[in-house]
């Protein structure tokens, strides 16, 4: 490699305002995340307009901090990367508008990045030895995708959710059993005290690809169980419900993922996304991969949540391929994986 490539990356697709500087796609020079979660907890979920307002107030501060932490100025940067979808349109537009203007003012190229490609690429940061091809499961509040990463920047969706995202189901079940928002970390924590086999919730199968997911049926089964128990005045053991629900989710995620690994004869598997920091899920994947002699990769927890370092990692591989976006780059809330604007 002739010279180092340093990318300033910005992410604002949901409720984290984030900026980072990443060198050569693998080395994080800074990673600044301003989380708005406390604000949205009041509403039991992310409110797009409130998120957008917070993003615009924080955007310059996180970018300035990212440059400062990396001990760099814009003169040292080679490109500006930004998440342009999928996500909430208002929040995305703040990041996209600011990133384009920063790049324009500094005379730098713009690289638009797909949010999910960012999550997948978080693995390149934590695991320097990881190279495609591998199978990756992306699980977060908004996404559940089983993806074959054939090469850098080349993705094939093997399976996706037909209704709720896994993280969304966690949120809804957590609310129903009185744990509140955000559901994932809360259920994960309570589950450690519960019996994962106390109740048997269905491991839903859906039509379409055998690698597709459905979590809505599982969630409904939990809600039905709670209703019935309440009507019969039966005691509801919160920890058991949480653990049993989490186990059902894990069984499906692990089952589909390992089926994909077999089907495509790939010996590397990675997880990514907010739910990837769920300790129960990590443990189950470690065990399943070990059994199959498949190498298991995961990003460190700080890179599982929404962050800009992962966007910088994904952008690097686009940048070296020559991908550049114009000043007219727009936010695309329903951007498909592998689809380029």
């Amino acid at each position: 490699m002739a010279t180092d490539v340093k990318i300033l990356a910005i992410e604002s697709s949901c409720d984290e305002t984030a900026a980072a500087v990443v060198k050569n796609g693998r080395e994080v020079l800074s990673n600044v995340i301003y989380s708005q979660i406390d604000l949205h907890t009041l509403y039991g979920g992310v409110v797009p307009e409130i998120a957008s307002r917070k993003h615009i107030d924080k955007i310059n501060r996180v970018v300035e901090k990212a440059l400062e932490d990396a001990n760099l100025t814009l003169k040292d940067i080679d490109a500006v990367a930004v998440t342009y979808g999928p996500g909430l349109v208002g929040p995305l537009l703040v990041g996209v508008s600011a990133a384009k203007a920063i790049a324009y003012g500094a005379g730098l190229p713009i690289v638009g990045v797909h949010h999910i490609e960012g999550h997948i690429s978080a693995n390149y940061i934590t695991n320097p030895q990881l190279e495609p091809p591998f199978v990756c499961l992306v699980v977060s509040g908004g996404h559940t995708h089983l993806v074959k990463v054939s090469d850098y920047g080349e993705y094939e969706i093997l399976g996706k959710t037909s209704d709720d995202a896994a993280g969304e189901a966690f949120d809804k079940v957590a609310r129903a059993i009185g744990l509140g928002y955000p559901g994932g970390p809360k259920i994960d924590k309570v589950s450690k005290e519960g019996n994962p086999n106390a109740m048997k919730f269905p491991r839903a199968k859906v039509g379409g690809s055998e690698l597709d997911f459905s979590f809505s049926g599982m969630k409904s089964a939990v809600l039905n169980y709670l209703n019935t128990a309440r009507m019969n005045n039966e005691e509801i053991v919160q920890a058991d419900v949480a653990a049993s629900f989490q186990q059902a989710v894990i069984d499906v995620l692990v089952g589909h993922s390992m089926a994909a690994v077999d089907m495509y004869n790939i010996d590397k598997f990675a997880i990514a996304g907010g739910v990837a920091s769920n300790s129960g899920l990590r443990a189950a994947f470690e065990e399943a991969c070990k059994e199959k002699k498949v190498e298991f990769f995961r990003p460190e927890p700080i890179l599982c949540t929404d962050n800009a370092a992962m966007i910088g990692a994904a952008a690097y591989y686009e940048y070296v391929k020559g991908v550049r976006h114009g000043l007219d780059l727009n936010a695309i809330p329903n951007l498909k994986l592998g689809e380029k604007a």
Binding site: Y43, E49, I56, V63, E64, G90, L93, A106, G326, N330
Partner: protein
């Protein structure tokens, strides 16, 4: 003083460049395209045609509300990003004041009205004292159109209107105004970044420019979820 100004608070995307009191260029489009796709290319067009060296600009200016929440943020985020990268201070100009400037010199009350949905308008009223300075007669806020109409009638002076609320409330105003009035032509109905640039110069001279990081839109309205939550909490008291 060199000022680059933008307005994307409403239907129109507009950019302008003012240099030492001379308006060197204005570009405005009202073509239903998303501002995020058009605004920066328009800035680039102006910069290229006028050979502007961004590093020599003194201030960046933006119409910072009220207006379409998303439109405001596209303009403000663009100016914040530019301000950060070229290290220049920014001026947020009130959208309604800039709209009033469409009637600069008019002898009477100037009332910009912007459609705020829910039977409301974002509005204010001004009288020009010494151009570009004006005196605010009715404070900027969101008003029910009936309420605004009463306030204007009470002033007892001729009213000049501007803004995207005009086509929406023209009939109502014609029926209910008891004072003389004048609606705008196609040429002075909507936002124009030239006004933003001129007013920004006045604000900058008053020492009211700020670091880009602190610039935030003035929405004049809370997010719906916040309003509903407050109503719910108040209801419980």
């Amino acid at each position: 003083m060199k000022i680059l100004a933008v307005d994307s608070s409403g239907l129109v995307a507009s950019v302008a460049y003012l240099e030492d009191g001379i308006l060197k260029g204005v570009l405005s489009y009202n073509n239903q395209k998303t501002h995020s796709q058009t605004l920066l290319p328009m800035i680039d067009e102006l910069v290229k045609n006028l050979n502007i060296d961004l590093n020599n600009i003194d201030y960046l200016a933006v119409s910072n509300g009220p207006g379409s929440f998303t439109g405001l943020r596209i303009g403000v985020a663009t100016i914040k990003g530019l301000g950060l990268s070229i290290d220049k201070e920014v001026v947020g100009v009130p959208t309604l004041e800039s709209l009033a400037f469409n009637w600069q010199g008019a002898d009477g009350v100037i009332c910009p009205i912007m459609d705020a949905r829910r039977s409301q308008v974002y509005a204010a009223a001004y009288k020009f004292t010494q151009i570009p300075e004006s005196q605010c007669i009715i404070e900027q806020d969101s008003y029910m159109i009936e309420e605004l109409c009463e306030k204007l009638n009470a002033l007892g002076e001729k009213v000049y209107f501007a803004g995207d609320g005009v086509p929406v409330y023209r009939d109502y105003l014609e029926k209910n105004l008891k004072v003389e009035y004048q609606f705008p032509s196609a040429a002075n109905c909507y936002q124009n970044a030239a006004n933003i640039a001129v007013l920004a110069e006045m604000y900058a001279n008053r020492g009211e420019a700020q670091n880009a990081r602190d610039l935030t839109p003035v929405y004049l309205r809370k997010p719906q979820a916040e309003r509903e939550r407050e109503e719910m909490l108040n209801g419980k008291d």
